[in-house]
Amino acid sequence: MSSNTTDNTGYKSYLEEDGGRKGIFKWILSTDHKRIGLLYLYAMMLWFCVGVVLGLLMKLELIAPGKTLMEAQAYNATFTVHGVIMIFLIVIPGLPAVFGNFMLPIQIGAKDVAFPRLNLFSWYIYILGGILVIISLFGNGPPDTGWTFYAPYSFKTGTNMLPAALGAFVLGFSSILTGLNFIVTIHRMRAPGMTWFKMPLFPWTLYGTAWIQLLATPIIGITLLMVAGERILGIGFFDPAKGGDPLLYQHLFWIYSHPAVYIMILPAMGAISEIIPTFAKKTIFGYKAIVFSTLAIAFVGYFVWGHHMYTSGMSGAALWAFSLLTFIVAIPSAIKVFNWISTMHQGSISTEIPFLWAASFIFIFMIGGLTGLVLGSLAIDVHVHDTAFVVAHFHFIVFGGVGFAFFGAIHYWFSKIFGRKYDPSWAKTGWIIFFIGFVTLYGPMFYLGIKGMPRRYFDYLEEFHGPNIISTLGAMVMVAGFLIILVNLIKSARHGEKTTEMNPWGGTNLEWQVPTPPPLENFDEIPVIDKATYKYD
């Protein structure tokens, strides 16, 4: 294990190099990809706390039938805003914007992304989208359409859905520009010698993700624009009274929003593929298989959107095709899981915090993914569609998958980013509590869904009471875990023990060969790559 330290003289880290700017301008005017990554991180942390509070409020409301905390209108607004924030402001930009920005150029041996100014611009667009979402909370009241904005309700409601939809539209642009930047960076700026198949897996997943961002996001852009046209001009695209077809809205919405779930999960899988070999001290098993499965998910994932519409009245032919394709798209995910577990075989595993997150990711992801198969089956989905079962599925996979990977990633790269160490025992305590809370929170929802409790229900029948209580208790446990993790990270980022150790975990990729924290342009001299990644001999 190499734990070389460099002496701190003679180089200035990106955190010290402020381009001669003052105060906050050191950050919001900097085009350094690392600072931009952190800008996203901070913005997301704020949003995330809002989203978590909203989630908790819903759970408190659902602890008992009838009104416990808020009125139906407030509840409807709560799950809408919760969904919009979590999906559009957190998990879609999530890993690519934070760790993609920070690590991608370093991992491929570049000094920055291809278009640094465009990169900063994307962040501003992201903030603008966030502001629009905030604006939607005032005036006629927060939107109450669900994050899916289904027509025709979405243009009949008197609430402020337009700013929220425009917010999502604007956020889409941010996402597109980030994707564009990453594709160009990967095509043009890989260090000499780094052929495509010598590239680490995290950049690979970012590459797949970027293509989805580029090719799927415009569809929701135009769809939301059409909804705006509908609301402002009354054109009638989706208004049955004027000949429009509400199902076409659903098609267009899911043409984006299904691929979007792979925007969320692919980088998460990439982060896991980084963490596991590092802590197993072993080459990743089946590198090429993982690469191809990434591309396969990105590609096939584009063509399964119809599985959100099994009961909407599509033709039998379409249902047949969509169900089949949905099952096919599960295969590449399965391949990844098998390869990760095989990587552990005959490794030399140290169960540090990031590894714990990665292993629990695999477990949670399997539950989320396998219940996805349940939903993909035509007969079963007719029964469980729009019930708590779906809510459980996507929390397991979105939040369990992306969230666990995110935490794994931040614990993995923490010292590289901040040049400080966190307290491992607190981190571990937080992880255990979080994990237990998570399963208790979302587990019962599967049962509720099978029993037939519909989603987006502010109130429910007495027969659903028991599991809801368990679930709410789970939420409280989980939030306790979350707070421990969060406080530990924030405290450590500000006051933690300083470190300049280049490679604390003994990783093999380039980010472990630059100083900690990295200098402004990452490398003095662009490295020349002559061997494959994840080599431990």
Binding site: K12, D112, R188, P218, I222, L233, I235, G243
Partner: protein, 205 residues
């Protein structure tokens, strides 16, 4: 080491910016792709009404606009040739023609739209409600898609004006003309979309 700090965004990679603009073009194609799907679905649902409604559009105006866009596409493409031949004057003239043609296109569009509006046809107009669902959708799509296309023309024009100024100031020259080429690519995209809008709205009746 501090000498190498600044200016990391100043290095030039023409191929990268070209790739960038291409990727952006792909996004735009999918953006309009969503509308083409919408069009196809509604045409499928109301073939008769779309047939009748399309006949109300003036093929002549549409054809003229098509020709205008095709010519402007050629002139901007020629500009990349002339700049490489170090012929600044011709370059400026070609870009200028492109701009003028773009303007003519917009003027045509303006008259076409006003004529429709004079006849009581605009999105959500009472007349359309009377005419029925097919017509509502057809003209809704017509205004939406051509409107969005016109918006792209305007964006393209702004871009080309910037390029014009830069060529004049020799910021774009025979060994540094990527911006011109990129602007051209964008302009061709506008043309590409029109190539489909034209038959869909004016021709197929």
């Amino acid at each position: 080491m501090s000498e190498s700090i600044a200016h990391h965004d100043e290095h030039r990679d023409d191929e990268a910016s070209k790739l960038g603009i291409w990727l952006f073009i792909f996004t735009e194609l999918l953006f309009f792709g969503g509308l083409f799907i919408t069009y196809a679905v509604y045409r499928h649902a109301h073939p008769q009404a779309f047939h009748m409604a399309a006949q109300q559009l003036d093929v002549a105006v549409g054809t003229i606009n098509t020709v205008i866009l095709l010519i402007s596409s050629m002139t901007i493409a020629m500009a990349t040739t002339s700049i490489q031949k170090k012929d600044k004057r011709t370059t400026l003239i070609l870009i200028g023609i492109t701009l003028v043609l773009a303007l003519v296109f917009l003027v045509n569009k303006y008259f076409e739209w006003s004529a429709k509006i004079d006849h009581g046809i605009w999105p959500g107009s009472p007349l359309l409600e009377e005419l029925g669902k097919g017509d509502t959708l057809f003209f809704g799509l017509y205004f939406f898609m051509t409107g969005l296309h016109a918006l792209h023309i305007i964006i393209g024009m702004i871009l080309i004006i910037v390029i014009f100024v830069r060529v004049r100031k020799d910021k774009i020259s025979f060994d540094n003309f990527q911006l011109l080429e990129n602007g051209g690519l964008y302009w061709h995209l506008v043309d590409l979309i029109w190539i489909f809008l034209f038959p869909l709205f004016y021709l197929i009746t």
